[in-house]
Structures are given as structure tokens and as C-alpha cells.
């Protein structure tokens, strides 16, 4: 009897641990990911990112040359945004990040994202589902929070000292969510208390709409308003009007042929009185 109890006393904790571990792993925050993925991410990081962001993601603060900010608190969202839009890696730290073809495959991006997330407790990547989103509510959130930088049509806008809020024409819903939660570059951070996950679905859906909006009026000429409209007026419409006026005002060639034949250049005297 003692032997059987002894066996249970040993087996039970092992059994509990064996059962609990997968549960613990499953319940753990998404950020941790699988160890293998994080390791792969670290390898990629050391090769492609550490020269500016440091061996441990804490950044390099040199007066010139290769340097970059700390990415310890960038989180899943920050890392995903920069990598999936191709803004990172940057050829030199003097360059302004702009959207390009991503330098990594989606799997590599996932690995890097997992690694960066493991460095600190930055924002998680939100789960954006545009089909759940309320388009009109998303529009209201967009106009309340986003249009001041990105313009009402999502065409982007100028910031101070040469920076710019980018066009949203290529942003995927996941990238919208990542940017909103991580506030890349000059963008502020909009946490879940400010824009909830449901609202984020709607916002991403509205951004998607802005990429192909209804243009019932015809050629949209940028949708940015009066400047392109003024150019159309002055560079297309007014020249057309002036051409019409010039056409109407020129002498008829048929008449010119007759006038040449008649060789009479004196104007005839007018009839009638003036008032």
C-alpha cells in the first residue's frame, strides 16, 4: 500500500505538470510565441537590425553614424508595422523611413516580431477584422483622430521640418491596427481605452474604404480639395475658354480669301445714329 501511495505521490505532480504545461503555454500572452520562433527572430535581428538598434534592442546613441532608437517597448505592433511596410530595415540612420517592399518574408517578419515583442512589454498586435467593423463609426473615429495628419481622404499630409504623415492608400487592416496601437514615428499612440478593438475594426474598414471610395462626381483629382480643383480651373478650363475666345475672334479664312480678292481695306462708313 505504501508503495502504491509512493508511486502516486511521485506520479501526480509529474502528471499535473505534464497536463498543465501546454495549458500554461497556451494561456501565456501571445507575445512570447514559440521559443523556436524567437530564436530565429533573434538570429535575423542580430544580422539585420543590431547595427543600429544594439545587441539587445536598447538602441545605439552615437552622435553620428549608425544609430537607432531603443525598440525594447516597440512591441508586436511596432515591429510588425515597421517590418511589414518595409520601412525597416533602413539603409542609413539619416534616411526617413518610407514605405517600400518588405525586406523579409512573412514568416521572417513573424519571427522578428516575436523576438522584438519578447524584449519588453510594448503593445500587442490587435486582431483586426474589417468585416466586423462599422463603416460609419469608423469614419467618425477617422475624422476625429486621424484626418488632421492624414487628411480626410487619407492622402497624407505635411508635418514639421520635412516630415510627413504618409498616404494610407496601401495600408492593410493589420498595418492600420499596428500603427494605431504603436504610434510609429511622429504618430501618437491610441490605446484600447481611446480606440477600442471594436472601434479599430471600423476604423480599419473605413481606411480600406478610402482606398477605393465612391467617386460619383467623376475624375477625383486627388480628393484633397481646392488646390487640384484650382489647377484644373486655371490649367485646363481657362485655357480651353481662351482658345474658344481666340477661335471666335479670328477672321474667317473664307472671308479672308474674298477680302484679298476685293483688295479693299477702308472701313465702310457706319449707318445709323448713336444715342
Amino acid at each position: 500500500m505504501i508503495g502504491r501511495l509512493h508511486r502516486w505521490l511521485v506520479a501526480a505532480p509529474v502528471l499535473v505538470t505534464a497536463l498543465a504545461t501546454p495549458l500554461a503555454v497556451a494561456a501565456a500572452p501571445r507575445q512570447e510565441g514559440g521559443d523556436g520562433q524567437i530564436a530565429e527572430g533573434r538570429e535575423l535581428y542580430l544580422t539585420g537590425c543590431s547595427s543600429c538598434h544594439g545587441q539587445d534592442g536598447k538602441g545605439i546613441d552615437a552622435p553620428s553614424g549608425e544609430r537607432g532608437p531603443s525598440i525594447v517597448d516597440a512591441g508586436e505592433a511596432g515591429a510588425y508595422y515597421y517590418l511589414s511596410t518595409g520601412r525597416m530595415p533602413l539603409a542609413s540612420s539619416e534616411e526617413q523611413p518610407t514605405r517600400k517592399e518588405p525586406a523579409y518574408t512573412p514568416d521572417q517578419i513573424d519571427a522578428l516580431v516575436a523576438y522584438v515583442a519578447s524584449l519588453g512589454d510594448g503593445p500587442a498586435l490587435p486582431d483586426v477584422d474589417v468585416r466586423q467593423g462599422d463603416l460609419a463609426a469608423g469614419g467618425e473615429i477617422f475624422r476625429a483622430n486621424c484626418q488632421a495628419c492624414h487628411s480626410a481622404s487619407g492622402s497624407g499630409g505635411a508635418l514639421s521640418y520635412g516630415r510627413a504623415a504618409p498616404r494610407l492608400s496601401d495600408a492593410t487592416p493589420k498595418q492600420v491596427g499596428a500603427a494605431v496601437r504603436s504610434g510609429p514615428g511622429q504618430m501618437p499612440v491610441f490605446g484600447p481605452e481611446v480606440i477600442s478593438d471594436e472601434e479599430l475594426d471600423g476604423l480599419a474598414r473605413y481606411v480600406e474604404y478610402l482606398q477605393h471610395p465612391e467617386d460619383p462626381g467623376g475624375i477625383p483629382i486627388g480628393r484633397t480639395g481646392p488646390i487640384p480643383e484650382g489647377f484644373v480651373a486655371w490649367l485646363i478650363a481657362l485655357p480651353a475658354l481662351l482658345a474658344l475666345v481666340a477661335w471666335i475672334g479670328t477672321r474667317s479664312p473664307i472671308r479672308q480669301a474674298r477680302a484679298a480678292a476685293e483688295a479693299d481695306t477702308e472701313p465702310a462708313a457706319a449707318g445709323g445714329e448713336d444715342d
Binding site: A148, V189, G191, E193, R251, R255, G271
Partner: protein, 302 residues
């Protein structure tokens, strides 16, 4: 007066088929334009009847009008007389006689009056008084500009700040580098009370203005959202630089230094709102803004 080219008729200098043939072609072209216009008008009617389509409507209307216009212009240019004629200009002024006659007739009505001056003066005074009186209704167009321009509903402090939906805000709701627009509770429709809450970073070297050291809560500072230039909402926060940029005329305000203007036409800092936390942990305003919000006016400083 005329040298109308009538198609089919030879000109006065004999048989010159050139202009005549061209004339015939132009006549056909002109008629053709009118035909196009007619067809376009019919097509426009069909489009409209079928439910309408803006591009089709615009183009067909343009063809209708343009067809008529082109037809008329071709007709005028090639078939209507365009010989130059001269017309004399006569002096624009009236002759001395005419002016004298007018003056005499005008004065005739006055000659029976003994003294015109008193009547004219009193009549003039009456008309002026009437004119002034007629202006009075203008006063009803709007209220006397009073304290309204110098106060906001935050004068009811202490008062919670709420987002547009009416929910109050806790400091933890605002992430670092986050910003949000709030209003005094119950006054989310007040156009002058829109407020920016900004959660700045420790490394941004926030320097409170003298006397405002306790106006922030947990690194959250509040400024009026109305630009002190011409009142546009300053909705653009550049989180890394700590600068607020107004999209209207590019006035730039430094959040870390009391939102003082660092570029652009704004000449005054954004007024700051004193913040605190109430017992439930929500952010409240403890007083009205540090200065009248929005653009300047004559007696803003009084």
C-alpha cells in the same frame, strides 16, 4: 454692307470655287453640329429617364450646348457680315446749353422759397435721424459680446473631463505618447471648450510654466485645442518631437514648454487647463484655462 457668302452662288469676282466649296462644307459642318446637339439632348433625356448618371449627364449636356454653340459660331464667322465699320464717337459730356437748361428747370422749383437753407437743414437732419433709427434692428442680430469670449464651461470647475461620448477619463487610459480630445462634463457641444490631453514621455524634458507645476496628472498635460491664431482645432500632435501643429496655417506649439508658439503666425501659447484627479481617480479640471481660448480680440487682455 454685306458680302454674305451664299452657298451655291458665285462671288462678285466671278467663279472662285475655293471659298464657295469651303463655304458649303462649313455650312454642312454647322448643320451637323446642330444635329449632334439634338441627338445629345435626346440621349440626355434617355439617360435621365433611366435613372441618371452624372458623367453621362455632364457630357451629353456639354454636347448639346456645345453643338448649338459651335453651329452658331461657324454660322457667324463664315456666313455673317464681318466687314469693319466705323462709328463716330461724340462728346460724352452734355453741351453747355443742355446743362444750363437742366439747371434752370431744376432751380425753377425752388425760386418761390424764401429761405431754402432752414428747410434743407431740418429735412436733412430728419433723414439722417431716420437713417440712424433704421440701423437699430441690426443690434438684434446678435448678443453683446460679453464674458463669453473670455470664459469656457470649465469655469464650473472642479469638473470632470469627458470624451465625446461622455465617458470620463482615467490617467491610465491614455498611453504614453497618446493624445485625446476632451470636454468638460456635460458640455461636449461647447465649441470653445475642446481640450487636448497629452501624455508626454519622461525623456521629453517637460518644463511647467511658473505657477503651473501642479497642473499635470501623471505626465498628462491639458491645453486648449483652439489655435490662438484663427481658432482651427490643433489636431496634429507629433509625438516624437512633442510639437502640436495646426493644419490650417502651420502654427507650431511646443507641448513641453507650455505650448508656446515656435513657428508660424500664432503669437500666443495655447491656454493650459489645470488638472487633478478626483476621488474616483478620474481626471478633473480645477479651474478654467490660463487665458481666453482661441484667437485674439481687442480687449482679450482686460
Amino acid at each position: 454692307m454685306t458680302d454674305l457668302v451664299e452657298p451655291g452662288v458665285a462671288g462678285p469676282d466671278g467663279a472662285d470655287p475655293g471659298p464657295q466649296e469651303r463655304g458649303r462644307r462649313v455650312e454642312l459642318a454647322s448643320a451637323g453640329c446642330f444635329v449632334v446637339a439634338t441627338l445629345a439632348a435626346l440621349a440626355l433625356a434617355v439617360v435621365y429617364w433611366q435613372g441618371g448618371q452624372p458623367q453621362a449627364e455632364g457630357v451629353l449636356l456639354a454636347l448639346t450646348l456645345g453643338g448649338i454653340g459651335t453651329g452658331i459660331v461657324l454660322w457667324a464667322k463664315h456666313f455673317m457680315p464681318t466687314d469693319e465699320v466705323a462709328e463716330d464717337r461724340h462728346p460724352l459730356e452734355s453741351s453747355e446749353e443742355e446743362i444750363a437748361e437742366f439747371a434752370a428747370d431744376f432751380e425753377a422749383g425752388q425760386s418761390t422759397l424764401a429761405s431754402r437753407r432752414i428747410l434743407l437743414a431740418t429735412a436733412g437732419g430728419a433723414c439722417a435721424a431716420l437713417g440712424v433709427a433704421l440701423v437699430f434692428p441690426v443690434r438684434s442680430l446678435g448678443p453683446r459680446p460679453g464674458r463669453g469670449l473670455k470664459e469656457t464651461p470649465y469655469k464650473n470647475a472642479p469638473i470632470r473631463v469627458v470624451v465625446e461620448s461622455g465617458d470620463p477619463v482615467r490617467p491610465a487610459d491614455l498611453e504614453i505618447d497618446g493624445f485625446i480630445t476632451v470636454w468638460p462634463e456635460g458640455y461636449t457641444d461647447a465649441a470653445d471648450a475642446s481640450t487636448l490631453l497629452i501624455h508626454f514621455r519622461r525623456d521629453q524634458d517637460f518644463q511647467p510654466r511658473p505657477g503651473r507645476e501642479d497642473w499635470t496628472v501623471d505626465d498628462i498635460v491639458a491645453y486648449s485645442k483652439l489655435c490662438t491664431h484663427v481658432g482651427c482645432p490643433v489636431g496634429l500632435y507629433q509625438a516624437q518631437l512633442g510639437l502640436l501643429l495646426c493644419p490650417c496655417h502651420q502654427s507650431t506649439f511646443d507641448v513641453m514648454q507650455g505650448a508656446r508658439p515656435v513657428f508660424g503666425p500664432a503669437a500666443r501659447a495655447l491656454p493650459q487647463l489645470p488638472l487633478a484627479q478626483d476621488d474616483d481617480g478620474f481626471i478633473i479640471a480645477t479651474g478654467d484655462f490660463s487665458a481666453p481660448v482661441g484667437p485674439g480680440f481687442w480687449d482679450r487682455g482686460r
